[in-house]
Structure formats: structure tokens, C-alpha cells
Point group: C2
Chain length 407, copies 2
Amino acid sequence: MSSYRPFSLEDATAYAKSIPGFFAADAALSCEEIGDGNLNLVFRVADPQQNKSLIIKQALPYAKVVGESWPLSLDRARIERNALEIQHRLCPDLVPAIYGGDDELAITVMEDLSGYTIMRQGLIAGNTYDRFAEHIGRFIATTLFYTSDLGMNQQEKKLQSARFINPDLCKITEDLIFEDPYRDAANNSFTEDIRAEAEKLWQDHALHLEVALLREKFLTQGQALLHGDLHTGSIFITPESTKVIDPEFAYYGPIGFDIGAVIANLLLNYAAQPGWSSNDEVLQERRSWLLTTIVGVWNHFELNFRKFWDADGIDIMSKTPGYQDLYIDQIRKDAIGFAGCKVIRRIVGLSHVADIDTIDDELSRRQAKVTALEIGKRLIKGSRSAASIAEVIEWAKAAAAKEGANV
Amino acid sequence: MSSYRPFSLEDATAYAKSIPGFFAADAALSCEEIGDGNLNLVFRVADPQQNKSLIIKQALPYAKVVGESWPLSLDRARIERNALEIQHRLCPDLVPAIYGGDDELAITVMEDLSGYTIMRQGLIAGNTYDRFAEHIGRFIATTLFYTSDLGMNQQEKKLQSARFINPDLCKITEDLIFEDPYRDAANNSFTEDIRAEAEKLWQDHALHLEVALLREKFLTQGQALLHGDLHTGSIFITPESTKVIDPEFAYYGPIGFDIGAVIANLLLNYAAQPGWSSNDEVLQERRSWLLTTIVGVWNHFELNFRKFWDADGIDIMSKTPGYQDLYIDQIRKDAIGFAGCKVIRRIVGLSHVADIDTIDDELSRRQAKVTALEIGKRLIKGSRSAASIAEVIEWAKAAAAKEGANV
């Protein structure tokens, strides 16, 4: 029964029925496949009469984005489910509940979030989410503090890190974020109208040096159990509620990486806002909300992380006066650098974001890309000297103003 | 047959006979237990007639140093054997050959090094080893470069790091090196004549801050497969040859830790040299040799590490101009800080070194301890700003001169 095969709708329905105590035995279930199908199948199985539903996510043994030629370990389904379970235990209101799963079939059965919007789509539609900063800042602080050497038994953390060794998915990040954008790599993907800007990236040795340092952190620094892919497509949202999904890239890495991912995706949406020279009030409010949200994400992270440290820190040496400040300062610097890397890769690398690619007007689309690249470069080059999150805001505004002036 | 029991001499002899092709079937074997018995049994099994012999090392399920109350995982025997195999493959002339082993019995069968001296004893006897710096510098550079993300496949490195998760032994280091010396811990051990100096360590918050940063690196920074316990008691030596043994503390950690261990143990012997105010030429030469050797260890490490990087570096981003210099600079800083921690713990912590404890004269012994503590503090506090290994030499000389003047 449980040797791997990609599920059909019938397989998914049958598996859903086998989950104890969820659907009635005689329920008439509907089933549809709702995934984007890049890396996974996603089935929604529902009992419309009882208004009950669940999601079955199944990993595919390859990444479709580059055809079937990019094989991916099915073990990532185990990693994702185990990460979801830990994250749900730590932040029950911010992570879907897990109902079951199977390592061999590479499936996870979880709470259906049909009432939610994928945050990227919500942002593109122009929505604002005023509780998001508090939610995601608390999610990152909680899941990372309590899986780190600061907040959990340090020997158990070592054993846990072994269970989250994730070579295939880490390699995607290492290649697509920390290497390809900085050379003429076959997997890069960009429009010809920004070729000059892409080629500048390939020759910018000062930029490469910073990227090499950030890559080293990604490769070696096992601080906490990261989500590993915390972009706005991994977040389901409503005005009142936020749910983080899809931690298949989870592994023990540098804390700044998750924070940087959130900041980067807010900045990508910021760069995608039209009309930099316009004085349109709605647009100005929009930009302002995005930048304020970035500051809020950081502040909620920092506030919670410090609170957990003071209340639940298990490491005697970590209570040394001044150490917490140094630690937080380094996370901020790392987050800024990682954010820059994640912005740049979405413009010239293999995988883009709809925030920018769906801009109708070709010139505006180009301007958004160039603005994003400028923001990314400033963040990366400024990361080691950045003293506060306010600098990110200044750099983003300056990059946007520069590109606006060039139009 | 292979469920765990501590070996008797008869068990060891029988096991040695079972190693294919080593002893003749009818050989009359002798067997003796030659370990210091803290953590392991060590049997030497020999065929005197054929002049052949081998060593069987067996892990004990507890640390005797604090009685049987400190249980230790037998899995460390597997880790030690696997580390020895990797290190022997990378540095065949510097690591004993492995003939076999058994995970359940927690034993490793290896080359007998009876013609060699334990380096610590050789140093205490006043010997010099002019090839040591080249040997150990090359050992560290080779074993660490080729197990790091710089010199081996980065996905295979992740899998390998999971095989070297080593919670029990890491905890010994975390407690005894990075925590206990800096507080009034039950496991500390020091003579009353340095109580004032020990208590100063407990109150020195500037020192604690640096130790917290070094502890963090030890906990989180998986750069390379460390030996993990590279003191002069883990090194067998002759004037011509060096063999590194006992990597049971092996795990993926910061590269500077192994270098720091070697430097610390040379500095402990340096601090143990008598008569700082004397102009005795032999003593001056001795001190000079020890300091020159420290510089040599670093220089041979750096030379080899850079050579491997240029010739065999597998990471495209690591070829970025300037990155190698930053990386080496950080290793040097780390090594200096770790060296300081390792000096201090041998004076006030649970486990001491014979270099100092065997000094006959009580006042000289006290002076050696105080000098060592002064060296350790200077190294730790100077580590983040240290720009060259020459600073270590200056700090050691200054610490010795200060204590000499106080006599």
C-alpha cells in the first residue's frame, strides 16, 4: 500500500477516508488537485454536506520547473511534516494543524486553509494586512528561539539537527540564491532589457565578497531550525489571521535567513509599485505600509526573541551582559544581507515573483526590476555595517528614487 | 558475540586473532592493558616472536574521572573510528592505520605506535620536535579543508555531518571549557593558592562576553570535521614522525578550535617553564622554541590551507578575490580565542595538564598557573582584534614577564 506513487484523485480520497475520526465513513467526498505542481501535488478533499475538508500534500520526485530532469528527494515530505509539527506546537495559531502523513508516500495531511489568500496574491491585489508584522515576527522569533541552543536542550538540538539534514533542498538555495545570479549560469532567467544590469552583477567583486560571506553562513551556521523558504507564497493570510506553510526547505541554518526572506518579499512588492515620480496618495500610502511593515516584522521579531531569551534562556553563558545585544545585532546584519540576495535572485535567477512579472506595462516592469536590483545590491553591500533596520528603509527609498529619476 | 561488555585481556587477545591476515593462527600472543583508563580501555596485543603488534581501543560507558556517574555514549567509538579512517585517508603519514573495529563492542583496532612518545610527556621531558609544526599544521589544514564546504561536495558534507553528531562528547567541551571555569561550578578543580584568581574569572564580564561568543561558534558553526580534542596528549611523536590519535570528540565545528587546542597546549608548557627572571640560556632557548613552534603551527596551517583552496577549492563563490583572506583572518581570531579558553580550563577546570601539575616546587607551580591564566585571559580578550599570530607571542611573553616580576 505505501510504496511511492503519485496520487490520483481516487488515491487521495481513499487516503483521506483512512484518517481516523475526520470524515464520516459514509461521507460523499469531493477531491480536486489545487497545487501549482512545481514540486508537489496538493489535493483538497471535502465533505460538502458536513462542511469539512482537509489538504493532502504529496511531494513529487522531481522539480517540474525545469522539467523532470531535476530530481528531488522525497525525504523532503518527512522534513516538511516534522517541521510543521514543531512549528505548530510552538505557534498553534500561526501554522496549520497536521492530521497525519506517510514518509514512503511522501504525503502530509493537514488543515484546509480555503478561507485564506496566498499573501503574495493579496499583496498584488493591493490588500494590506495590519496584523501580519506581529504574526510573522512572533512566528520567526518563537520557532527559531525554541529550536536554537538558546532555547532548547543543546544535546537534543544536535540530534534534531541531524533529522533535518536536507541536502537536496539546500542545494537549490545554494545554487539559485548564492551562486547563479553572480555568474553567467545556465539556470539564470531574465529579460533582455535588463541584460546590462545582470552582467554588472557578474562583474561586481565587492558584491561577490559579501555574497560569499552570506553563502558561508548558509552552509555552516546551524543556529536554529529555519523554515527555509519564507516568502509571501508560503504564507496564507486574512486580515485577522496568518498561517505559515510549506517548510520543505527546513534545516538548521542562520536565523537571519528567515527574516531576510520576509523582508525581501515585501521589498519586491515595494519595487513593483508603479509611478515613483507620481504623487498619488494611494500609492504613497501603499509604499509607506510596505516599509512600515518591514520595520514592524523586525521589531516584533526582536521584541519576542529578547523576551524569550530573558524568560526561557537555557544557556548560562548567554546571560552575559552585552551578549544578547551583539547576537541580535548580528542577526539584523545577516537578515539584511540575506534579504538582498533574495531580492536579486528573483530578478535574474531561475525563479521569479508574480509581484513583478505580472506588471502589464513593459517599461514599468523593467523599472521595477532595476529598482529591485538596486535595492538588493544596497542591502548586500550595506549588511555588515548596518546598525538598524531603518537603514533598509532608507536604502529602499533611495533606490526607488534613483530609478524613478532615471525614467 | 558482539553485544557490549568491557574486554578482558583474553577477550582482546581473541579479538586480535580474528583480524584477518594480521597474526599467524598459531602465534603466541601477549596482551596488556595500557590505557590511562579515564574513558577507554587500551589493549596492546603482540606477537613478540614476529615483532608484530596492534592496539585495541574500547570505549567505556562512563567517564572514570568523575566516577561511574558520568555516563558516556558508546557511539563515540564509531565516531572515533570513522574520524580516524577519514583522517588516515587524508594524511596517511600522520594518523595510525585502522585494521578493524566493531560498533556494538565499541572497539577500534589500529596500528601500534609503541616506538612513539606521548607528546605531552616528551615536552615535559624537555624534548624539542622540529618537524612537529609542519606535521600538525599540515594535518589540521588537510583534514579540515577537505571535510569542509570548501574542499568536498557540499551535499555529501551535510550527510557526513549527520554521521558525526556527537552530543555526549560535545557536552563535555561545552561544560568544561565554555562554562564551568567562568562560574563557581561543582566540577571546577583548583588549588586554594589560586582561589583569588579563579574568583576573578567568575566576575570578569568582559571575559564572559568573549567566551559566550566562542561558545556560540562551538555550538553552531559546522565548518569542518574537527578532531575536537587536539591536545598534546592526543599526539604520538618522535623527532621524525607525528601521529594524531583519539578523535572521539570529532564533530562538525569551527576550524579554529583544533588550531587553538594545539596552541593552548604549547602555551601551557610555556607557562610551566621555570624561572622567568632567570637568564639561563637553556631555558630561554626552550621558551623560544615553544613560541616559534606556535608560529610555525599557524604558518604551516595557513600555507597548506591556502594551497588546497587555490588548487582544489570546489566552491565557485569562494574564489572571490579577498574572501580567502577574510576567511583565514577569522580562523586566526577564532583559534586565538579558543586557545585562551583551553588554557584557562586546564588551570581551574576539572581536567588539568601534567605540564603544570608535575612541577615540584609549590611556588613555581603556582606561578605557572597564574601565568597560564594571564595568557588565557589576554588571548580571549584580544581574539576579536588580533591581526596576526605574532600578537599571541607578544601576549604570552608579556604575561610571563608580568608574573615573573611579581615573584
